[in-house]
Subunit: 63 residues, 2 copies
DNA sequence: CGTCGTTGTCAAGCATCATTGACAAATAGG
DNA sequence: CCTATTTGTCAATGATGCTTGACAACGACG
C-alpha cells in the first residue's frame, strides 16, 4: 500500500515531527508509514485525510 | 468508528460468511467489525470498499 | 568547525487486528 | 416440530500498528 504523505507534507513544508504532532502520533509512526514499513490504522488514516482535506483514496493507493 | 456493513450486506443478501469469503477474512472478523468490536486495517478497508464499489468514506464514518 | 533540525532506523513493549475452534441462541424453512 | 443456517461471542495465538528512547547520518547555518 503506497502513499503520498511525503509529497503532501512537502507541499505544506511540514517536518515529520510537525505532521506527527498534528496527528497526535509519534514521529516514528509518521516515518514508518512514509517509508512504507507499515500502513496506518483506519482511524489514523481518517485523521490523515482530515488534515490534508482529501479522501483517503487520494492519499493511500492500492498497490 | 461506525460502519454500514450490515446494511450493505443486507442489500445484497449476503451472510457474514459470504462476505468474509469474498474479503478473504474469517467470519469472526466480519462479525467483529460489524458489531463494532474493532476497526479493520486500512488494506482490509480498501478491499471492503472495492467489493461494495464505493469509497471508504461512505462505508466507515468518523464517530 | 560546531550545532541544530531533519530523517532513517533499531529494540522492546503494549495495544489492536485477525486467526482457528468452539459453543449457544435465534431464525428460517421443510 | 426438527433441522440447518446465521449470528454473537469466547479464549488463545500470531501478526501489525504505535509507543518511547536512542543513535547515526545528513544538510544548512553560524
Amino acid at each position: 500500500m503506497k502513499n503520498r504523505l511525503k509529497v503532501l507534507r512537502a507541499e505544506r513544508d511540514w517536518s515529520q515531527q510537525e505532521l506527527a504532532t498534528r496527528l497526535d502520533v509519534s514521529r516514528q509512526s509518521v516515518n514508518a508509514i512514509e517509508t512504507g514499513r507499515y500502513d496506518p490504522s483506519l482511524p489514523l488514516a481518517f485523521r490523515i485525510a482530515d488534515i490534508f482535506a482529501m479522501p483517503i483514496e487520494e492519499i493511500f493507493l492500492r498497490k
